[in-house]
């Protein structure tokens, strides 16, 4: 408890260390996460970016220990405040889910219960969290929350069922439900990818305001680098089960240090000159059926050297808050990853 007052603990809310997750499928073992390490400070928004299948959702679900068979968390530590989520008993983990840590899923309609009025779902989240609350005051609080979410006629809307709402409305309900309990950490898995840009802009503005109000930390998963640039303080770029680059949002987006991040930023057509071909990363994402024994980006990389297809690159530390797992930076100091966070664990 005393540790709570030391700077280390007040800074770091979540620290994930060397997380490995495998899926045992008919085709073989999918090595979905191959040693993922990152940390999230209090009141900070960390973005997790990367293309389909790179392991963003698996990382998010692991934090809540929501990996079901055929998946298995093979090793690693997930330190939330002073507890390792991976060693807690089920009751303790359940208490954390929906209380201290909430998660917004990609498909809003799928994660709302179709047969319960949306207002009741928000109220229910409150009741589970705070057992001293009575039903009618939970309802009132739920409606207040809906009003804050910019939902017109909150009283009437709260009596509707999920299928009667548009995607944007349903996502607002979902966000209301996840934030009404004032979690310490909000995990948002592609919260706006299914929505149109004008609705996305509304939702992001609302989330931003609420997150400020209740001082929540956010793990923001998105493949949209624009959304990332606007909402995150720090970002981690994933490729095929690894974090390949991590750092402050400005330095990663303005001065990317990993060839994959550099390529990814160049392929975005937004500002590209229509008279020239777009930059394209050659080849395809590798299969995850082989355990990693080299840099998984090496066969698509313009700068690949002999050792890239033989060794796993360590994480090199460029500055205090910018690191990349690439041999091009050999000579820089090697990051200790999440290891120094051991301090937190009494």
């Amino acid at each position: 408890m005393l540790l709570k007052d030391t700077p280390v603990t007040t800074d770091k809310l979540l620290s994930v260390q060397d997380l490995r997750v495998h899926f045992h499928t008919l085709r073989g073992i999918v090595h979905a996460l191959e040693g993922v390490s990152f940390h999230l400070n209090r009141q900070e928004t960390l973005g997790l970016a990367g293309e389909t299948g790179c392991g963003k959702s698996v990382t998010a679900r692991s934090v809540l220990r929501l990996i079901d068979p055929p998946g298995r968390i093979v090793s690693g530590r997930i330190i939330f405040e002073d507890r390792d989520i991976l060693t807690l008993d089920d009751t303790a983990v359940r208490a954390i889910r929906g209380g201290e840590i909430s998660m917004i899923m990609q498909e809003p309609k799928m994660s709302l219960n179709p047969v319960i009025r949306v207002g009741d779902q928000v109220a229910e989240a409150l009741l589970i969290h705070d057992t001293s609350l009575n039903r009618s005051s939970a309802r009132t609080q739920a409606e207040e929350m809906l009003t804050q979410m910019g939902i017109p006629e909150a009283h009437r809307t709260s009596r509707r069922y999920p299928h009667e709402l548009s995607g944007g409305m349903a996502q607002r309900i979902m966000i209301a439900m996840m934030l009404v309990t004032r979690p310490k950490l909000l995990i948002a898995d592609e919260p706006t990818s299914a929505l149109d840009v004008t609705i996305q802009a509304q939702i992001l503005a609302l989330m931003d305001k609420l997150v400020q109000d209740i001082r929540t930390s956010v793990l923001m998963i998105t493949h949209d680098l624009g959304v990332m640039a606007e909402t995150c303080d720090r970002v981690a770029v994933m490729y095929a089960g690894n974090i390949v680059e991590m750092g402050a949002v400005r330095s990663v987006l303005k001065d990317p240090q990993h060839p994959y991040t550099q390529g990814l930023l160049k392929t975005v057509p937004d500002k590209a000159n229509p008279d020239h071909p777009l930059y394209a990363i050659k080849g395809n994402v590798p299969s995850l059926l082989q355990p990693q024994n080299h840099c998984r980006f090496s066969d698509r990389c313009e700068y690949a050297m002999a050792r890239c297809s033989r060794e796993i690159p360590p994480v090199y530390q460029m500055t205090d808050d910018h690191e990349a797992a690439c041999f091009l930076h050999d000579g820089q100091s090697i990051s200790s990853g999440g290891k120094q966070v051991d301090l937190m664990n009494p």
Partner: protein
């Protein structure tokens, strides 16, 4: 100047000839109002659209989910019911074609779908998938088919080893290449690309966009390019049309529309796009509410309910798509367009 007159004027000038004209197109669907109810309502999915594509154009169609982009594209290939209006290919109507005419239109106008996973039969070999059209249209037979298929597959980045593999063995990007080969082998005039890359990763998307640009030149094609991704549209198209609730609200040269948007909806849409440059100040107009549904839409301007600058007339009278500003090709359907 109204848009239709403009179309006619264009044909008489020395621009590229007009390939496709869509005139006052309406596509309505009749649906059952609630789950149990017998009452029927009308979905006005496309509600009076005019547009014209010159040969060689890449016409980008943007707009939010449900605004009618797919329905419009499908109407052109005869897959959506046309309630009113005309669609002309090289001056000849292609609405309600049957028999040989429909068959020929099916060759000239090809539709590429968004989802590369469901649009190809998983149990057919690549050779069958790509060759079937040649057989169907009697364009080749016997070994000619295999030869042409192989040549086309090579063009889109495959080699002979791929010829007898099954579609399900390929990745999303590869399947989209197969769809393209299948369409191109018929030597079409017009390709309607409905969100051709939105199911793909950005790194793969770039490969496909480059390929599309190359083949457009090589095969002298015209594209109707549907996407909700403004960045992709801007990169690909020379002209664009912005749709809202079944209407075309603004159209013009891509650079004109992006740099001098006149319709308030276009302005909001462009301002909503998050920038990957952390130093770009976000100067955003947020809209109130959700887009209304096209089920029995109210009279007046389709955008009136959400427009930040709405005036009384907007709720009563639908604005026509007319020319504003300095660029000759820039048309906007708004009573109070922003013209600079």
């Amino acid at each position: 100047m109204r848009y239709n007159n403009h179309v006619n004027r264009k044909t008489n000038q020395s621009h590229n000839p007009i390939l496709l004209t869509v005139e006052d197109l309406h596509v309505y669907f009749s649906i059952r109002e609630g789950w149990l109810s017998r009452q029927r309502a009308t979905v006005k999915a496309v509600n009076g659209v005019n547009l014209s594509l010159q040969q060689g154009d890449v016409f980008g169609l943007v707009g939010e989910s449900g605004c009618g982009k797919t329905t419009l594209g499908r109407a052109i290939v005869g897959l959506s019911p046309v309630s009113h209006g005309q669609i002309l290919l090289k001056g000849r109507s292609i609405v309600g074609l049957t028999g040989q005419d429909a068959h020929e239109r099916a060759r000239q106008v090809q539709l590429i779908f968004q989802d590369p996973y469901s649009s190809l039969h998983p149990r057919k070999t690549v050779c069958d998938l790509v060759g079937v059209g040649l057989k169907l249209h009697g364009l080749a037979n016997g070994y000619e088919i295999d030869e042409q298929v192989l040549a086309m597959l090579k063009r889109v980045g495959f080699n002979i080893d791929h010829l007898y593999r099954y579609a399900h063995e390929f990745s999303g990007g590869q399947r989209q290449r197969i769809s393209l080969a299948r369409a191109l082998i018929l030597r079409p005039k017009l390709l309607i690309l409905d969100e051709p890359t939105s199911a793909l990763d950005v790194s793969v998307q770039a490969q496909i966009l480059n390929l599309l640009k190359e083949i457009r030149q090589e095969f002298n094609l015209t594209f109707l390019f549907i996407s909700h991704d403004l960045g992709v549209i801007r990169y690909m198209s020379n002209r664009i049309g912005v749709m809202y609730l079944g209407h075309l609200v603004e159209t013009g040269a891509t650079s004109d529309v992006f740099e001098h948007p006149q319709h308030p909806y276009t302005q909001v849409l462009l301002s909503s796009l998050p920038s990957i440059d952390p130093d770009t100040p976000s100067n955003r107009t947020l809209l109130e509410g959700d887009p209304p549904t096209p089920i029995d839409p109210p009279p007046g301007c389709p955008f009136a309910q959400r427009c930040p600058g709405v005036k009384p007339i907007c709720r009563e009278q639908a604005p026509e798509l007319i020319h504003h500003g300095n660029s000759p090709d820039h048309f906007t359907a708004c009573h109070f367009p922003h013209v600079d």
